[in-house]
């Protein structure tokens, strides 16, 4: 019998069906943690359908985390009402891990607050729930009906995924970031290379990356279709988690003889900064092929690249420069903790001096809610994760996705620009 991948090990440990599992099997599995944000309002309404009313109970309030990060602060009366439903629901059901609009974006706040640990099986009402793979958790997004079911039962069906491995080696060039690696992967292997599959990232480059940078990879892996996206299970990540929680955990490592669908070898020594061009994430070009394209907006934020490291690199670049007069640069830190760190370290001051606008931590413009939408014909360079037509406002706008360094440099020049010269 061959060894097991990380996904196979974690799913087997949570299986309520058989314990010997293989890719393709469908099992019921016990869930360790549920995350939900704005979709919690729909769950609250669904709970009212449960009859008799004494059956309206969540399976375990201590295994649920709820946040208000979408439409925060509420941009309309309707969303204010939705937030109100959620606040009442978490109170009624004693869900104590509730983070109101002040705290920030789910995929940043959950790890920061120590909710995510290695070996956990996590589901979230958000596609980028794959982010927690960076912390060695099997973690994926689900829709609202599955969320409702999980809230009541604490379990769900899972198809055991096969796994693909990306072994990444060599040092990155100056100002080339993990975002460039994962965008390059989308371009080379398409937006569905990992559909219904688990990803394991490995190799020297991955080990060298900071936790912030690894989170970007596991986050954006969803745009390659991934169900789970595991970072390297090493001491660096273990130390990070130990600083956030006193709960015990053990790293889950793949067996040396685990079965992979395929292993991809990537040498990133010559990797140029990459951008996803309109209107799909896998329409990828190196920055040198699109440099000179005029931009109206530069967006630095989101669960993909709104972390301290991202703001810091932007501040380094913007320190002695001013943002171009024709560009509005919007910075949305991913969490209150990050905002505070940016304030304390002078990063925020540098950004504001250069002409950036810093918003409260939230999901904002990334998904076209508010806080920096685009008009017809406008062009945005964004550090977020999607460039679909209409994603940030007008269908006639264009979104390019790139690294925080590419966003900052392009904001100075007023056009897409290679950050390696800065």
């Amino acid at each position: 019998m061959s060894g097991k991948t990380i996904a196979e090990k974690i799913l087997a440990a949570h299986s309520l069906s058989k314990k010997e599992i293989s890719p393709g099997d469908i099992i019921n599995a016990k869930i360790d943690l549920i995350m939900s944000h704005i979709g919690t309002a729909k769950v609250a309404l669904d709970f009212r359908k449960i009859k008799p009313s004494k059956m309206r109970k969540v399976f375990d309030p201590d295994k649920i985390v709820v946040l208000l990060d979408h439409y925060s602060p509420a941009p309309s009366e309707k969303w204010a009402a939705a937030h109100d439903i959620i606040r009442k629901f978490v109170k009624n059901h004693s869900i104590n891990s509730f983070y109101d609009i002040r705290e920030g974006v789910c995929h940043q706040v959950l790890p920061e607050k120590g909710h995510v640990r290695p070996g956990m099986l996590v589901v979230g009402g958000d596609s980028h729930t794959t982010t927690y793979g960076a912390f060695n958790a099997a973690s994926c997004g689900i829709g609202n009906t599955d969320l409702f079911y999980a809230y009541v039962k604490g379990e769900l069906w899972f198809r055991v995924p096969s796994t693909i491995k990306f072994n990444i080696t060599s040092n990155l060039q100056h100002r080339v970031m993990s975002k460039d690696i994962i965008i390059k992967m989308a371009g080379d292997y398409t937006a569905e290379i990992a559909t219904y599959k688990s990803i394991e990232f490995s190799g020297k480059t991955m080990e060298d990356l900071s936790i912030d940078s690894r989170m970007t990879m596991s986050n954006f892996a969803l745009e390659l279709g991934a169900k789970f996206a595991f970072g390297v299970p090493d001491q660096k990540v273990a130390n990070w988690i130990k600083n956030r929680t006193s709960e015990p955990f053990e790293l889950v490592k793949p067996d040396p003889d685990a079965n992979y669908d395929k292993t991809y070898e990537l040498d990133v020594s010559d990797l140029e900064p990459q951008v996803s061009c309109p209107h799909t994430v896998d329409n990828v070009k190196p920055i040198t092929e699109v440099s000179g394209t005029k931009i109206n907006q530069a967006f630095l934020g989101s669960c993909t690249n709104g972390r301290f490291e991202d703001l810091e690199v932007a501040a380094e670049i913007l320190a002695k420069n001013e943002i171009h007069n024709d560009v509005r640069m919007i910075v949305t830190p991913a969490s209150r903790e990050i905002w505070l760190e940016a304030a304390k370290t002078g990063v925020a001051e540098t950004l504001i001096n250069a002409g950036a606008i810093i918003t409260n931590p939230n999901c904002g413009a990334c998904f076209g809610a508010h806080g920096g939408l685009l008009g017809p014909g406008e062009i945005c360079i964004s550090s977020a994760n999607r460039n679909f037509k209409g994603r940030m406002g007008s269908e006639a706008a264009k979104i390019y996705l790139g690294s925080p360094a590419t966003v900052a440099v392009s904001a100075i020049k007023g056009e897409l620009t290679d950050p390696r010269d800065f």
Binding site: K42, L45, S76, G141, Y149, A191, G225, R386
Partner: protein
């Protein structure tokens, strides 16, 4: 409200027939359920998929079937995407592949979805399509071409028969509550 919810009864039929709408690869959830209309069912009904096929929202009728390329439903976890297609009367989606969350949400909502290789090349919008769901057999009634897709796992087929995960859960809780 964020997520619309559907009032319609979802009756399971083994064999369904309808008019085909042919969609390209990589139809994303923002195209199906645009972010700026997430609080507005009427606007979503009026604009769903218009960036892909302009006349789709005004001309799709109850019982129509979507035939698509690869990676249908990629993007967000918003269940308003399968939801709005159901509201429009779409009876099933046959695609070369689906994005994972869209796929599982469709079963949760009892919207039949089938994976069939190379299907999008065999259809033109307007063709009559027949689907035998448990056998995963697709027929283009205009050309006579038959294709076989991947059979739906029995557990997921049961979800379709039971009218979706919510119905299944509500009836389970109702019978437990009587005890």
């Amino acid at each position: 409200m964020a997520i619309f919810g559907t009032k319609k009864e979802r009756e399971y039929k083994e064999v369904i027939k309808g008019k085909a709408w042919v969609f390209p690869d990589n139809v994303d959830t923002d195209a199906i359920s645009p972010g700026q209309y997430l609080d507005n069912l009427k606007a979503t009904l009026d604009h769903t998929c218009e960036t892909i096929i302009k006349e789709f929202p005004s001309q799709v009728s109850v019982g129509d079937i979507i035939v698509a390329g690869r990676n249908f439903g990629c993007g967000s976890s918003r269940e308003t995407a399968p939801n709005i297609l159901q509201e429009k009367g779409v009876a099933a989606i046959v695609a070369e592949s689906f994005a994972r969350i869209f796929y599982r949400s469709s079963f949760a909502r009892a919207l039949p979805v089938l994976e069939v290789e190379n299907i999008s090349k065999e259809f033109t919008t307007g063709d009559e399509i027949e689907i035998n769901i448990p056998n995963a057999e697709i027929t283009n009634l205009r050309t006579g071409k038959k294709l076989e897709g991947e059979k739906i796992h029995p557990i997921l087929l049961n979800l379709l028969k039971n009218g979706g995960l919510e119905n299944q859960l509500l009836s389970e809780l109702k019978s437990q509550g009587k005890k």
